[in-house]
C-alpha cells in the first residue's frame, strides 16, 4: 500500500512538473495574466480612483462585490463558531475565589453564586498567579498595537494594509488582554453582545455604502455616486468610498477574531479559559 501511494505521489508530481513547462515565463508581457485587464488597472487606477496602491483600488473598488462577500464569509465563520461552540448553561458550576489579602483560595461547588465584593476575586480553575512583567508590558503595549492597527486600516490607500490586516491586529490586541490577564477582563472590555453586534455592523457598513450609492443614482458599490454627499469630485469620492468600506471590513474582522478566540478558548462558556 505504501509503495502504491509513493508511486501515485511521484507520478502526480512528475505530471505537475511536466505541466509547468507550458506556463509562460515569469513576468512575460504576453502572458494571460498581464494582457487582458491588469494593464488597464495599472494605468488607470491612479486617475480613476486617486489611490496609489493598486491592490487596494482593485480589491475595494473594481472588485468590490468580491470583497463584500469575503467580508460576509468571515461574518459567517464567526456566526458558525458561535452556533457550534456556544453553551448556555443554566446550573451554576464550580467556581474558585481568591481572598486578595490572604491569598486563600475558596472552591464553591454549585449552589448560590456569591455576590461581587472587593475582597474576593474570581479566578480560573487552572489559575496561575499573574506575572507582573507580562501583565505590565501587555498593558503598556495594547494601545500601541491598536494605534498601529488604525494606521494600517487608514493607510491602506498608500501602503500594504487595509481592513483585513488592520482588523486582525485590532482583534489580536484584545486577545492579548485575554491571554495576559484573563478572559473575564477582556469580556468586560468588549462584551459578547457588543462583539456580536460589531460583527454584523461591519458587513452592514459595507453593504450600506453600496446601497447608498444605489440610492444616489449610481450602480451598487460605485462610489463615484457618493460625490454629492461627500462634497468632492467623483474621483476623490471613490477614494473616500474605499476608505469607508475598509472601516467596515476592519470592524467585522476584529469582532470575528475576538468572538472565535473567546468561543474556542473557553469551550463555548465565554467564562474562563487560557
Amino acid at each position: 500500500m505504501k509503495t502504491a501511494g509513493l508511486i501515485i505521489v511521484i507520478l502526480a508530481g512528475a505530471i505537475l512538473l511536466y505541466a509547468t513547462q507550458d506556463f509562460p515565463p515569469w513576468g512575460a508581457p504576453d502572458s494571460p495574466a498581464s494582457t487582458h485587464v491588469s494593464p488597464r488597472y495599472l494605468q488607470k487606477s491612479m486617475e480613476e480612483t486617486a489611490v496609489p496602491n493598486v491592490v487596494t483600488s482593485v480589491l475595494a473598488d473594481y472588485r468590490g462585490f468580491d470583497t463584500m462577500f469575503e467580508t460576509s464569509v468571515i461574518f459567517c465563520a464567526g456566526i458558525g463558531c458561535f452556533a457550534l461552540l456556544r453553551i448556555f448553561r443554566k446550573k451554576p458550576e464550580d467556581r474558585y475565589y481568591r481572598h486578595i489579602a490572604t491569598e486563600i483560595t475558596l472552591h464553591i461547588k454549585g449552589g448560590r453564586i456569591p455576590e461581587k465584593s472587593s475582597e474576593f476575586e474570581r479566578i480560573d480553575a487552572l489559575w496561575t498567579p499573574y506575572d507582573l512583567i507580562i501583565k505590565t508590558v501587555c498593558r503598556i503595549l495594547v494601545p500601541f498595537i491598536q494605534l498601529f492597527a488604525l494606521y494600517v486600516i487608514a493607510h491602506g490607500h498608500h501602503s500594504p494594509g487595509g481592513g483585513f490586516q488592520g482588523g486582525v491586529i485590532l482583534g489580536a490586541s484584545m486577545i492579548l488582554i485575554a491571554i495576559s490577564y484573563n478572559m473575564r477582563t477582556a469580556i468586560a472590555r468588549i462584551s459578547e453582545k457588543t462583539d456580536n453586534l460589531l460583527m454584523a455592523t461591519g458587513v452592514f457598513i459595507y453593504a450600506g455604502i453600496g446601497t447608498l450609492c444605489l440610492i444616489l443614482g449610481a450602480n451598487f458599490l460605485d462610489y463615484s455616486g457618493l460625490s454629492t454627499i461627500l462634497f468632492s469630485g467623483p474621483i476623490m469620492a471613490r477614494s473616500h468610498g474605499i476608505f469607508g468600506v475598509e472601516i467596515g471590513v476592519g470592524i467585522t474582522v476584529m469582532a470575528v477574531m475576538i468572538s472565535i478566540y473567546n468561543n474556542l478558548a473557553s469551550e463555548g462558556k465565554q467564562d474562563e479559559g487560557l
Binding site: 496561575t128 506575572d131 512583567i133 507580562i134 508590558v137 503598556i140 503595549l141 500601541f144
Partner: protein
C-alpha cells in the same frame, strides 16, 4: 563616515546573531537555549535595525528622518518585547515543572 558606523553596527549585529545561533544549537537544555535566543537576538536585531535607520539618513531630508524615526520605534519595541516573550516562555517552563539541567556528579 556614516558608512563606517553603519558597517560597524551591521558587523557587530551579525556577531551577536552568530553567537545566538551557535548557542541555540549547542547549549544543553531548554532554559540555557532560551538564554541566547532571548539576549543575543535582541541585541543583534537592535544593532542591525539601528544600522538600517542610520543608513536611511544618507541625504537627511524630512521624509527620511520620519522613516528613520519609525525604524527606531521598531528598535524600541523589540527591546521591550523580546525579553518579555522569553520571560513568558521560561515562566511556562518553570510552571510546567521542567527541571533545569545540571552537571551530574560522577
Amino acid at each position: 563616515m556614516l558608512d563606517i558606523v553603519v558597517i560597524f553596527l551591521l558587523v557587530s549585529g551579525l556577531v551577536f546573531f552568530t553567537g545566538g545561533a551557535v548557542g541555540i544549537l549547542r547549549l544543553p537544555d531548554f532554559y540555557t537555549r532560551l538564554h541566547p535566543a532571548g539576549k543575543m537576538d535582541t541585541l543583534g536585531s537592535l544593532l542591525m535595525v539601528l544600522a538600517v535607520a542610520l543608513f536611511n539618513l544618507h541625504d537627511f531630508t524630512w521624509m527620511q528622518l520620519i522613516t528613520s524615526l519609525k525604524i527606531v520605534l521598531v528598535v524600541l519595541f523589540i527591546f521591550v518585547l523580546s525579553p518579555t516573550a522569553t520571560h513568558a516562555i521560561v515562566d511556562a517552563g518553570v510552571r510546567a515543572g521542567l527541571k533545569p539541567w545540571t552537571k551530574k556528579k560522577e
